[in-house]
Amino acid sequence: MSSLSASQNSAPFEVSPGYWSGVIGRLRRDPVAMFALLVILALVLMALFAPYIAPNDPYRGQLLRRLRPIGTAGFPLGTDELGRDMLSRLIYGARLSLLMGVTPVFIAFFFGAFIGITAGFVGGKVNSLLMRTVDVFFAFPSVLLAIALSGALGAGIFNGLLSLSIVFIPPIARIAESVTTGVRKLEYIEAARASGASSMTIVRVHVLGNVLGPIFVYATGLISVSLILASGLSFLGLGVKPPEPEWGLMLNTLRNAIYVQPWVAALPGLMIFCTSISFNLFSDGLRSAMDLKS
């Protein structure tokens, strides 16, 4: 402790807290966002340590104990249509469901931000070419585009990820383009040009720092949509294939069980719902924490 206070005394300058520490500070005072973050962290931990948490093998079932109700001894959340332990399958399901829901947004963030920032900063013909191409994909409702692409490509984890990534590139590219165009017009970019800096340096120092934040916040808002869509693809028989545990696929295979064990059949959807609403609430909190005006 003494060394810390000593270094503070000798610090010659007043240093203001940076932008991001301000954002984190405001976020920590937002109970809803913090709760949502805790739920998300719990889900991630559940996915990572599924083999240690799950009480049973999620793949092995016995036809003799099919569709047991919630509260059955040894199977607290019942069993599915093939007699597999629901609790274990829901825990393992977090792995593929999170992977399929979250990854496409990050891939789309990377490509969409690249396309949009390039279009916004370069402007002119490059902008027109890139953004008109983006417009074509934006002209499809997102659900339809995801289903069209993965329907044509066929089922499978990779095809699902690819389709969803393509679906989320256009909206992110659009936001990135409009944010970058706005920043490009500001005078500090002109001032930087007047100092003789190259375009690459200006983008690195002055553009990226000011546009990546808003684009990222927008992208986090898409995670919840992506989760619902990803599980929706599996629900339609696209995306993840049986017997893998994935919430959307589980919902699909349990559809006929609603007449026998309705609440067991509804459980995977509840997981999707909780995950999706947590990401939505966290994204909302992040957005207001990053708003300097508030």
């Binding site: 417009d135 002209a139 659900v143 339809l144 289903i147 069209a148 059949a265 719902f273 939505n280």
Partner: protein, 315 residues
């Protein structure tokens, strides 16, 4: 002037959409013929079929042949049923349109109500409650909500039918209770999608209008709330209507999951079958029509909005 520009802008987008739809068949793994031909077809038959379907020509040529046919209303023949895709679509499209329009209306009314109340009592518990409901609306997987409603109202209470569009799985629609009761659950489920978004939009609009100075002054003077109410509705309506129009487009394109849950004989159900049976012509035709519908709806919304409020010119 703006309307002419908007029309001209739509053409290249529609062209691009048609290219994407055309390419769908060609990004599909394997030879597009494999789904048509028996696995033991001779090489000669394969070559014959290839020529017949035009698959031997270069892609751009194939595209323009396909486009020329499409413009004339020929969307090809479904592999699974052997009937023209256009015929299959025309029946399904009416069912989907009916469902989507009803869902949009319900969603708009509920969303508008929640949004208005939330924006009017901004910051209070009513606002927080309404905002929470709208967050639930945008976060809930609607296909799961459909299942839950079926569990409650069909399985447990046995009030409403779970699937289909008419008694005994009949696909012919009629406006009587026997048919309408099939529409209730899917329409309510679907209405949740636009509800959350409409509520958020209306809340922001109302809060914004109410914070304008002269309104604040009027409310401070305790002037009649009805005048304020009328002003708010008049100013919020164009944007809210635009959101509603766009949402209708999303629902038309996004109805596949809900139609699958309820076995509703619309375009989405058709699409589900096309995917299940790898019926690529049916997939391609359905997606093209739905996407063009969405493009056209976007255009109409923009034009109508510009006519209602010339200040708004979306680009």
């Amino acid at each position: 002037m703006y309307i002419a520009k908007r029309l001209l802008y739509t053409l290249p987008v529609a062209f691009g959409v048609s290219v994407v739809c055309f390419m769908l068949v060609h990004i599909a793994p394997g030879d597009p013929l494999t789904s048509v031909l028996p696995p033991d077809a001779s090489a000669q038959l394969q070559a014959e079929m290839r020529r017949l379907y035009g698959f031997d020509k270069p892609l751009p040529v194939q595209y323009f042949i396909w486009l020329a046919k499409t413009v004339q209303g020929d969307l090809g023949v479904s592999i699974a049923t052997g009937r023209p895709v256009a015929l299959e679509l025309s029946k399904a499209l009416g069912n989907t349109l009916m469902l989507a329009v009803l869902a949009t209306l319900i969603g708009f009314l509920l969303g508008g109500l929640f949004g208005f109340v939330a924006g009017y009592f901004r910051g209070g518990w009513v606002d927080r409650l309404a905002s929470f409901i709208s967050i639930i609306g945008v976060s809930v997987p609607h296909y799961w909500l459909g299942m839950v409603l079926v569990i409650i109202f069909s399985v447990q209470l046995n009030w409403l039918p779970a699937t289909g569009a008419g008694p005994g799985g009949s696909a012919d629609w009629a406006w009587n209770w026997l048919h309408v009761r099939h529409l209730i659950l899917p329409a309510i489920t679907m209405s949740v999608i636009p509800m959350g978004i409409v509520a958020r939009t209306v809340r922001a609009l109302v809060a914004d209008i109410l914070s304008q100075e002269f309104i604040v002054g009027q409310r401070a003077k305790g002037l009649l709330d009805f005048g304020v109410f009328r002003h708010v509705v008049k100013n919020a309506a164009p944007t809210a209507l635009a959101v509603m129009g766009l949402q209708l487009g999303y629902l038309l394109g996004g109805s596949i999951l809900i139609e699958t849950v309820f076995s509703w004989p619309g375009t989405g159900f058709l699409l589900g079958q096309a995917i299940f049976q790898r019926d690529l012509p049916l997939l391609q035709g359905t997606i093209l029509i739905l996407a063009l519908f969405f493009v056209a709806l976007n255009l109409i919304v923009d034009v109508v909005q510009t006519m209602l409020d010339p200040r708004v010119q979306r680009t």
